[in-house]
């Protein structure tokens, strides 16, 4: 048996240099492809987190993921311990800054210390600057959303915790009064979010008195719908202007040559 093995071994000719080269190239390319796909798949999963609240001035999430160098300077600059860096196990894009509004919201510092320290521009100073002055009120970290089923103000109980907590008092959250038909003599004082004013700081989410916050901040792309460009506000002169260069296209569907009866009876051959 062992002799036999020896014979087989002897019979095998040494690999030619060309063959060796080609095989080694194939191994290299094969391993790189395999590793590359595993790595890419992991990255794709690890960076897919759409419900994250970023610091003020953060650029679009896709660009943020490639631009943020994960140094944590914004975290260190934040005076309220609001900002966190995603740790392994947080299931968020690793090392990137975020905050959990219910735990610690953004207090909207007028000097926005977290933004100018960013070395890479992932937090963009220009996006929170009006006329050369830092302006936290134009920050867009997200937008607050109300679950009117669990918000006790919608039940008729008097609560304006979120309204009072809002740093842009009376503008980002307004109170809508309506008659409480159930009691007949009370008013509903329902909080309404003005989404174009709301910065997504999360002070309301922090202040909400229900067990789990009934008002909470979501990233704007998640919270907002989109009507589509084919809806034009006819009453809005600015919006109407979009029609000036509008073109139209007529499409015709060819009529079927079969008679209507044939069409109705189609597919009934088996009966």
């Amino acid at each position: 048996m062992s002799e036999n093995k020896h014979e087989i071994k002897k019979k095998k000719e040494p690999l030619s240099d060309r063959r060796k080269f080609i095989l080694n190239m194939a191994r290299g390319v094969g391993l790189a492809t395999m590793g590359g796909f595993i790595w890419s798949a992991y990255i794709d999963e690890a960076t897919a987190s759409s419900l994250l609240l970023r610091p003020p001035g953060a650029i679009k999430e896709n660009d943020f993921l490639k631009t943020c160098i994960k140094c944590g300077l914004c975290v260190e600059a934040c005076p309220y311990d609001t900002l966190l860096l995603a740790k392994p196990g947080d299931n968020k894009p690793l090392g990137t800054p975020y905050f959990i509004a219910r735990d610690m919201p953004c207090y909207m510092c007028p000097d926005i210390p977290c933004v100018p320290v960013c070395p890479t521009g992932a937090l963009d100073e220009a996006s929170v600057t009006t006329n050369g002055v830092l302006d936290i009120k134009i920050a867009d970290m997200g937008v607050a959303v109300i679950d009117s089923n669990s918000c006790i103000a919608f039940w008729g109980i008097q609560c304006d915790a979120c309204y009072r907590a809002c740093p842009i008092l009376g503008e980002a959250i307004t109170i809508e009064y309506s008659k409480n038909e159930r009691t007949g003599k009370h008013a509903f004082m329902k909080p309404v979010i003005q989404s174009d004013v709301c910065t997504g700081c999360g002070m309301c989410e922090r202040a909400c008195v229900t067990e789990k916050a009934s008002i909470f901040v979501l990233p704007r792309e998640v919270a907002q719908g989109k009507a589509g460009s084919h809806y034009v506000k006819g009453w809005d002169k600015e919006d109407e202007k979009r029609l000036e260069n509008a073109t139209s296209k007529t499409t015709t569907t060819e009529l079927s040559k079969d008679s209507a009866i044939d069409s109705l009876n189609d597919g009934l051959e088996g009966y």
């Binding site: 290299g28 391993l31 790189a32 590793g35 590359g36 790595w39 890419s40 992991y42 990255i43 794709d44 690890a46 960076t47 896709n62 660009d63 993921l65 490639k66 631009t67 160098i69 994960k70 140094c71 944590g72 300077l73 975290v75 260190e76 966190l84 860096l85 740790k87 392994p88 196990g89 947080d90 894009p93 690793l94 090392g95 320290v117 070395p119 890479t120 521009g121």
Partner: protein, 276 residues
């Protein structure tokens, strides 16, 4: 005591530097110190001088990010710094993973794991350059910094400064990998950041120099060296260690009892002659 210092002086200094850096970074986040803010990816020294990881910037470039002036300045400062003191000085003097892999390597020697495993290493040290190239390709294709999202270096360092999470698992994985799977596995084979600094270190100024006439061929230097291939000249000819893979950890210098190894400044004129 004097011999202890003599045999471990660079090791002690390196640990001191590594730990002080961690303390300074930690203090910045915990107590608002301004000596060294941020982390190894990007820092600010005395709230003024920026310093950024050039490899991270390279991935950002590949991913299609717009590089800011601050970042480029930080990268330039880091690059010049490591060109002076030796590219992979980062690996042995700064990187926190070095303490983990050194510990694994020490235990490997003490337990004689090499003898169980045999000398044949199952991977090439060139693997890191492949991973380096691959990281740039993936950064380009996926539009994110590929290594920065998996890097155990940043995981551990960020973990120590900002909170560890499951970062301890990354530490353990690297320790076990180096101890049981591959000798000098992470730092000497896999790590693309080490690969990057190897390429940078090819041109750096501070070098270990070998004095052949003093050498007694005891080979202690090759036993402790984490990149022993760079010491190919030992006992053969008087030469500086010119490979960028040398980490300037200086373990070889301190274990040498015969004064055959020491730091020197690279002689640029001589190198031109030898073509290096």
């Amino acid at each position: 005591m004097a011999t202890l210092w003599n045999n471990y002086r660079y090791l002690i200094l390196r640990r001191l530097v590594q730990i002080s850096l961690l303390v300074l970074y930690f203090g910045a986040n915990a107590w608002g110190w301004i000596i060294l803010q941020g982390n190894l990816s990007s820092s600010r020294i005395f709230d003024f001088v920026p310093m950024s990881d050039p490899y991270a910037a390279l991935q950002m470039l590949a991913a299609g990010a717009v590089l800011s002036l601050d970042l480029l300045l930080g990268v330039a400062i880091a690059t010049v710094f490591y060109l002076l003191i030796g590219g992979r000085a980062f690996c042995s003097w700064v990187c926190p993973i070095n303490m983990i892999t050194d510990a694994a390597n020490f235990l490997r020697r003490k337990l004689d794991i090499d003898r169980v495993q045999g000398i044949r290493q199952p991977a090439s040290r060139n693997l890191r350059y492949w991973i380096l190239a691959l990281s740039l390709v993936i950064s380009f294709v996926m539009g994110v910094t590929a290594f920065e999202f998996v890097s155990p270096i940043s995981m551990v360092h960020r973990g120590i400064v900002f909170g560890l999470g499951f970062g301890w698992a990354a530490m353990l994985i690297i320790f076990l990998f180096d101890l049981f799977v591959l000798k000098n596995g992470w730092c000497g084979h896999v790590c693309p950041l080490g690969g990057f600094y190897s390429l940078l270190g090819k041109f750096s100024l501070i070098r270990v120099h070998h004095q052949e006439e003093n050498c007694t061929l005891c080979m202690k230097c090759k036993i402790v060296c984490p990149e022993h291939q760079v010491l190919h000249m030992v006992g053969k000819e008087s030469l500086s260690v010119l490979s960028g893979e040398c980490t300037n950890c200086a373990r070889c210098i301190e274990v040498c009892d015969d004064d055959a190894l020491g730091f020197s400044i690279r002689k640029l004129a001589q190198n031109k002659k030898t073509g290096e």
